[in-house]
């Protein structure tokens, strides 16, 4: 159980160093062995705008940005005005006493005006550093880790910058000691230091562990972090990383590389994914394994590029014309992203189909602590019925597959899976065509009318998904079957739902269970139906307007939920949003709750 659970919120304009302040805190907290979650609410502009970063840490589990702020650091007036009213008794607000006027704070909030100009010795960009110093003081953390973290953060800028920032941090630290009241609790410490990881890093590392040799991308928020990681590590890890002319090119190149036998991957966001859809259908048709991650942001169209949403589910389900097998998975958090990518590659290789991952801004750009021991990079690699020239294909009769000795690349088997040679293997020559084709790759549309072959090939490809479903872990209910309410979610909302469940039990005495659905295609219809049929009140929680998951769940299972909690204002759920909505729904007040995000617009 958590003894102490606290959050620091820093807000201001882009360019005021908020992200790096957040990084410093995250490193310090994780270094103390604390679990943490950091989320940066920012704007799609380079300078200006309003950015608000929340770093929450605890010695207990941390699965969302939480509900409260303990240390509030508004770096401009705007931030002060928007957020001060959200502080509750016991919280502190640290701000520049010359530039920022506090408004009326709730009783018990400690206002901590600081002489930033003086403390920062005229360095206008260093107010955040002084505030960090003060923060550690209030949290009862020694100054040394701050110095280490500042050193790490500023070392690229040279020794002078490091020294200056350390001095400023120290000044803030000391000023707070003299002028403000520390929290009655201290930031706890646990024996084992943790690492910090974003979802995009987790995706990239998961890809590297899976053996990705080809990564292509076109930059698009909030997926660009994957490209950055890959570009930074390409040479060390022997990965070909390409920034391509557009997303169409990305997916087609990835497929080209995959056709030669590479494990190949790409990530994008909704708009880029839309452009890839036709090619994803090609991967389905020519039975080529590729992995593509759609890091969702608020749509439609350009939408709100720096805001989160789970709005691309139907786009992913409907990607490309016609029916074809694909795997669709929505991991729950950073660690899950890391672990899912290698698993998905194994499945894609085995079932020779595209694998699509739904992530979103919340978990892809959000930061979590991670136990290094859980980041197992030594994952099993299973490539299915792949025939490589230096392995199982080396002994092939070099004259089979030539001319009239056809190689049945698309052989109609009971499992739907056909052995798969790649170019370069002697004796297995074939053409992979996006036109419907016979077992040996011959176009049926060219040769003769053949409705029977067409049907056979559609069924062959579709059959693969039966095997896949049997192999995937079915979802499990967490909590009692007869709970008062069962909260169903998919993807990134798992953490916040879990915390809401705990809050409901702890604060409201409401027993709730949680059903998290990770594998979306194929879907465990039987298992899900069984669980939901036993549930008393089922409420689906998702981060979009139209209830995309609720509608999909119904399309496959027929199950109609009793209620829905949705949010589509760009910001993620906080635990209390769900708690309050559940209460309202159990009280019969509504069947659709749309929590209001508490910030002054």
């Amino acid at each position: 159980m958590a003894t102490v659970d606290f959050a620091v919120g820093i807000g201001g304009e882009n360019g005021q160093g908020i992200a790096s302040a957040g990084d410093i805190l995250a490193r310090i907290f994780a270094g103390r062995g604390l679990n943490l979650n950091a989320y940066n609410a920012y704007q799609s502009i380079i300078r200006g705008g309003h950015t608000f970063l929340t770093v929450r840490a605890s010695d207990g589990p941390v699965r969302s940005m939480g509900d409260k702020i303990d240390v509030f650091i508004p770096l401009n007036q705007d931030t002060m005005d928007r957020h001060l009213h959200l502080l509750r008794a016991g919280a502190c607000a640290l701000y520049d006493r010359e530039k920022i006027k506090p408004g009326v704070a709730a009783a018990g909030v400690q206002l901590c005006p600081m002489p930033m100009k003086e403390l920062a010795k005229g360095n206008k960009l260093a107010a955040n550093t002084a505030a960090l110093g003060a923060t550690l003081q209030l949290l009862g953390i020694a100054a040394e880790p701050l110095e280490a973290a500042v050193t790490r953060q500023f070392k690229k800028k040279g020794d002078a910058a490091v020294a200056e920032n350390i001095a400023i941090a120290r000044a803030g630290y000391d000023y707070a000691a003299q002028n403000f009241k520390a929290f009655p609790w201290q930031a706890p410490r646990r024996p084992k230091p943790l690492g910090v990881i974003t979802g995009n890093q987790a995706i990239a590392m998961g890809g590297a562990a899976a053996g990705v040799k080809f990564y292509a991308a076109y930059p698009m928020s909030p997926s660009t972090g994957v490209l950055m990681w890959m570009a930074g590590h390409a040479r060390k890890l022997g990965i070909m990383v390409r920034q391509v002319e557009d997303e169409i090119g990305v997916m087609n190149m990835v497929i080209g590389a995959a056709c030669t036998g590479c494990r190949a991957m790409c990530a994008t966001s909704g708009g880029g994914f839309a452009l890839m859809a036709e090619a994803i259908g090609m991967a389905g048709m020519i039975e080529t394994p590729v992995v593509c991650i759609d890091v969702q942001r608020a749509g439609p169209a350009t939408g709100v590029p720096t805001k989160t949403e789970q709005g691309d589910l139907w786009q992913v389900l409907g990607a490309g014309q016609g029916d074809y097998p694909r795997l669709v998975v929505a991991p729950a958090n950073q660690l899950d992203l890391f672990q899912t990518i290698p698993e998905l590659f194994n499945l894609c290789d085995k079932y020779q189909c595209p694998g699509l991952v739904l992530s979103d801004l919340l978990i892809s750009e959000g930061t979590a602590s991670v136990d290094p021991g859980e980041l197992d990079c030594n994952v099993p690699i299973e490539r299915g019925e792949l025939i490589l020239p230096d392995g199982n294909g080396a002994a092939a009769d070099p004259s089979s597959g030539y001319n009239n000795r056809a190689y049945l690349r698309f052989k109609n088997t009971a499992s739907g899976i056909s052995p798969r040679a790649v170019p370069g293997v002697p004796g297995h020559i074939f053409v992979a065509a996006t036109d419907e084709h016979d077992e040996d790759g011959t176009l049926i549309s060219d040769e003769f009318t053949n409705p029977h072959t067409r049907r056979m090939m559609v069924e062959k490809r579709a059959r693969k998904m039966q095997g896949a479903l049997a192999e995937l872990a079915p979802p499990k209910l967490v909590g009692p079957e007869n709970a008062a309410v069962t909260l169903v979610g998919w993807g990134s909302t798992q953490g916040v739902i879990r915390e809401a469940v705990e809050k409901l039990a702890g604060e409201e005495g409401i027993v709730a269970a949680q059903l998290s659905i990770k594998w979306l295609v194929p879907l465990h219809v039987a298992e899900i139906s069984r669980i939901l049929a036993c549930s008393r009140t089922v409420i689906i929680v998702e981060n979009n307007y139209s209830g995309q998951f609720a509608r999909y769940l119904r399309s496959e299972t027929g199950f109609e939920a009793h209620g829905h909690i949705r949010k589509y204002d760009g910001e993620p759920f906080m635990p209390h949003h769900i708690v309050e909505a559940v209460k309202a729904q159990l009280a019969g007040q509504t069947r659709l709750s749309v929590p209001v995000h508490e910030v002054n617009a």
Binding site: A208, H233, K236, G249, T260, R383, I429, V431, L443
Partner: protein, 308 residues
């Protein structure tokens, strides 16, 4: 006529069938193009070029888009990818980088390559990817039964321009020269022997090679026929054209009318290919596609350190 483009170089020893013959390169399927279609000549020339270069079929990958011309890989006895309309160059780039030991040849039509596929084309050229790109340019959309294409001449009447096209065509030759292709040539289906030499040169060239082939569509293009081209095409190699003369290359490439040059307009060999410049391909572990997957313990450890 002497049109040797480049001396055939030695090709790596391989696991090819003991005896390569011209027949080896022919696919199992007889092309279903209209009788007389220019593409017959192209596929024959490509088979001849590959045979003359002695390249083993299983080390060749022919990548196409969609169109009459894009059916070509199905008629070859080499590995093939018959991809989406307009996407051949992108897929081929991925395949070449995935396995840079393959000979990757891209084939397709004018609509496929210069219409819907033009973005990939432009960017592949500037990257100087080591691909041979053969465009069967019939100045029409054949497979969709005769609409205007980006190379249809202004005024041309097609099913989608019944009163004549009002758009200026793309001229792929100067576009490719300026766009960064390092081997830019044109051939004509009516001159198959010349085409074989042009293809051989393109295949041996290290870098992006474009061969635009006048390959008449006998069914839908009644303007640019064999009869129309025959008296007009003039072989550059017979005229002493210097393919290192940039301005001359553009001028000859822009020529249209009574005299239309074919042959090698432009070549430069001083520019490294994309593959040359990518260190990950040159660490001695062979093609990416066949490397061992997964991370070493040291690599894994280093990645985890970064997070701490």
């Amino acid at each position: 006529m002497s049109t040797t483009i480049a001396p055939p170089t030695t090709v790596p020893a391989s696991a090819a069938p003991a005896q390569l013959s011209k027949e080896t390169y022919k696919g199992r399927i007889h092309p279903d193009w209209c009788p007389g279609c220019g593409d017959f000549s192209v596929v024959a020339a490509l088979q001849a070029a590959l045979f003359e270069l002695g390249l083993p079929p299983h080390q060749i990958l022919v990548v196409s888009g969609i169109g009459c011309s894009s059916n070509l890989p199905g008629y070859m006895n080499t590995y093939g990818l018959h991809t989406l309309h307009g996407r051949a160059v992108a897929v081929a780039t991925g395949a070449k980088l995935g396995n840079h030991e393959l000979k990757v040849i891209c084939t397709g039509g004018d609509g496929d390559g210069y219409g819907i596929g033009c973005n990939h084309f432009v960017h592949a050229m500037r990257r100087n990817v080591d691909l041979t790109y053969i465009v069967m340019d019939n100045q029409i959309y054949g497979l969709t039964t005769g609409q205007v294409s980006p190379t249809s001449v202004k005024g041309m009447k097609t099913k989608s321009t019944p009163h004549g096209s009002v758009e200026n065509p793309i001229n792929p030759i100067p576009l490719a020269i300026v766009g960064g292709a390092t081997y830019v040539a044109r051939a004509f289906s009516g001159k198959q022997k010349h085409m074989v030499e042009i293809f051989k040169g393109a295949i041996l060239h290290k870098g992006f090679a474009l061969v635009d082939v006048f390959s008449p569509c006998v069914t839908y293009n009644k303007d640019n026929t064999y009869q129309w081209f025959n008296p007009r095409v003039k072989i550059l190699e017979e005229q002493g054209h210097d393919p290192s003369d940039f301005h001359r290359a553009i001028d000859r490439g822009s020529q249209w009318g009574d005299e239309i040059p074919i042959g090698l307009f432009w070549r430069r060999t001083d520019l490294p290919t994309l593959e040359d410049l990518e260190p990950v391909l040159h660490d001695g572990h062979g093609p990416l596609a066949w490397r061992k997957l997964g991370l070493s313990n040291e690599q894994a450890q280093a990645l985890i350190e970064e997070l701490l």
